[in-house]
Symmetry: C2
Subunit: 446 residues, 2 copies
């Protein structure tokens, strides 16, 4: 391979860098998510970035758009002793439910506890055509409640409440919760046949993709955003008679439990979600301001996935929200925050750098055990006082410690409060004590 | 593709699940890392999981083992309009320095600030043969200090001090810091030629890999762990005369600055690190207890990488530590911690579930604004009191709230302190207030 040395490298299409200012927003979101997940007693699980391709084919459905068109597969140039290429049959995870269930089974969670409340956060990958709200690397926060003890409509309501309360804790207000039921597996099969029947006379009005979906998996037609397909879907007369008694009763219990938690929702009989594994409750949270890709998150019950992936017959319910979508929905509010730098050391002369270098380290050490966080910066590049103060302002320093030849002669450091403008010359040996007092007290007192 | 429905899915070789108990250890490590990184004023950057393969070939060296043998490449089944396969030429990142530099250049950091102190944490990928301390997905925490203002030996010392202090904050005590210098680029080329000369007479004693490395990149021979190669390396008479005046002086300044921070180190002239891009200071932190893969982390100065990747001529210094290695080195101490569940609601009868379901949510709401975190669990599966108390114990619940027919009749909830065994029957309407008082006070007071 010849390397073109003049090449400018670009970030891969459909991915983005989270730069320092923006990473503060992500950190804040994750902190809030972790707090509310803990409040509901969900515990973190981290699975690998890639899994066997077959795992996703089995869980999401071999005929799903994701598995058919959007998987990112791995290959390796590495040869083993026999000269074979290893690492085939692996794909980047397009979502995390299948991986969590794989881990649940492989680690026999069902033998350890009756209900495993798990959460995850991290990157997911799809080889899609990038557009607003659709990236090749995107990020999700999700929960899965799995186990013999998970077959209660209260758990559906708990998971939905957790989803809604998490979005609220992020500061989102205008989102809409839609719910529906697909009923038991028998019911779902019945709905499938009815849908085929209802759409059949109008199948020529569907878009080309949906004509194919109609054959492969008719449920996916209901997810189509194209107007022609939407009008076909609108004409379908969904009814309670599509569901059996057991399914209806379960759905009623979920709705009652939601009402008890003051969670408001809209019922949408055309909501099915594009994945094979849902039965009973499905839900989606959306924000109209996001345009055509308006889902913030979605989830539902999947009572057959664990056994389908080779595990015990245990029920489960879960959801995932999209971090990028949440940030888009929050846009305009506070998506760029800036962290303060607490103390910024400036040397006025080359010969002064050494002493403030040591002083900066001593200040850090004095805070190492403290529960509060502190941020201490230092500039090793000596330039004019003016340009250094400009840098301090840009870094949003709360205090600046200035050390030049005058200060050196007097054995002092000048501490400037950048908010009030107040300055004091502090003997070097008292600096840590005086600074620590100043940063706790608002303003500097002599 | 035919799917074998009886297949048991396994985690991909060389990767691991971080299960809930272990994830607490990871969370704790990341929290400590973030705190100390903030103390040194480093800010987080998150780059994509994959980049152009060429970026790594250019940064790590086309002839490096990683680029030659260990890259995990992406392919996609997705076709564009013209039927071509997209997404070729992309690889999972084997390390993060190249990505951070790519982002630094693409986002013109050098125009915004004179010194960018950046950190990252996340998964990295190499198609290696898995062994203890070597995984296909592993995790690193690293820093990169890049920019026109980065050409100071104090910054080398700052970065090394940050690395050492971070490892200390994780509770590691026995690790060793080794440092060396490769000098300026001219110097490094001179060392290269001298190494060729020193090894040439003994080249037949090298292992097969190193015979090839000797031709491809002689520096990498110094990284070999095989005894035969080690003895060849030992016989090399490294000397100060291998370095020029400028390089020696810079190295002296770094060592002086380290001494000023009370950072103890060993000098090791055979330390070069297996990557092309280092010049001047290189360092490695290792823990002998880890065996042959003993490096906890490593770093150094790389003044030519930014320009080599198409950016401005700015200097840089950085390091990365391996999270799995750190956890291995900590092994036996506190690698499995368990989070307490603060309150666990138990229903004794089916008809009691509904009310405690609502009560659990009210307790959560009463804590939503609190700075402290609280974890509230609930069991929807009604079983015997005995088996439910066993589950509460297993979940390490601090308090259990019991609600059965007796309690329902009296309009009370029984709150049991699992540590002291003390119980009290609390009227439902006072439950939140009494519980909140009880959880703050140690023990329950009537």
């Amino acid at each position: 391979m010849v390397i073109d040395m003049s090449k400018k490298f670009k970030i891969p299409r459909g991915t983005s860098d989270i730069l320092p200012q923006e990473s503060l927003v992500w950190q804040d979101l994750e902190k809030k998510a972790r707090k509310i997940l803990n409040l509901y007693n969900y515990r973190e699980i981290r699975t690998p970035i890639f899994e066997e391709t077959d795992l996703f084919a089995r869980s999401m459905g071999q005929t799903s758009d994701v598995v058919q068109k959007q998987m990112l597969n791995l290959t390796s140039q590495r040869l083993d002793e026999k000269g074979h290429i290893q690492l085939s049959g692996l794909s980047l995870r397009p979502e995390n439910t299948a991986s969590v269930v794989r881990s649940y089974i492989e680690n026999s969670f069902d033998k350890k506890e009756s209900l495993s409340r798990l959460f995850y956060l991290g990157p997911m990958f799809r080889g899609e055509r990038p557009q607003k709200g659709r990236l090749r690397q995107f990020h999700q926060i999700g929960v899965e409640a799995i186990g013999p003890g998970s077959s209660s409509p209260y758990l559906d309501a708990e998971v939905i409440a957790l989803c809604v309360n998490m979005l609220k804790s992020f500061g989102l207000k205008k989102f809409e919760l839609k719910i529906n039921t697909l009923g038991t597996l028998a019911c779902k099969n019945n709905i499938h046949d009815r849908l085929i029947g209802c759409i059949e006379p109008r199948v020529d009005r569907l878009c080309d993709d949906c004509k194919e979906r109609y054959i492969r998996n008719v449920f996916r037609v209901l997810d189509c955003k194209k107007n022609s397909c939407k009008s076909v879907i609108k004409a379908i007369a969904f009814g309670k008679d599509w569901l059996d008694e057991e399914s209806l009763q379960y759905y009623e219990q979920v709705k009652t439990a939601l009402a008890e938690l003051d969670i408001s929702y809209t019922e949408d009989p055309s909501l099915v979600r594009g994945l094979d594994y849902y039965t009973h409750t499905v839900f989606e949270v959306s924000d109209a301001s996001l345009g055509s890709q308006d889902a913030l998150g979605a989830g539902g019950r999947y009572n057959h996935l664990v056994s389908q992936l080779g595990g015990p017959q245990v029920d489960a319910v879960g959801f995932a929200v999209g971090v990028e979508r949440i940030l888009l929905a929050k846009q305009g509010s506070d998506n760029e925050s800036e962290e303060d730098l607490d103390l910024y050391f400036l040397a006025i002369e080359e010969t002064c750098v050494n002493e403030i270098f040591q002083m900066a380290e001593q200040v850090r050490r004095s805070w190492k055990g403290a529960p509060e966080s502190l941020s201490v910066g230092i500039n090793y590049q000596v330039s004019s006082m003016k340009s250094q103060m400009r840098a301090a302002n840009k870094a949003r320093a709360r205090f600046v410690a200035i050390y030049g030849l005058d200060e050196k002669r007097q054995g002092k450091i000048k501490l400037k409060n950048m908010e009030t403008g107040a300055e004091q010359d502090i003997p070097k040996e008292e600096f840590i004590e005086k600074f620590n007092a100043a940063i706790i007290e608002p303003g500097i007192k002599e």
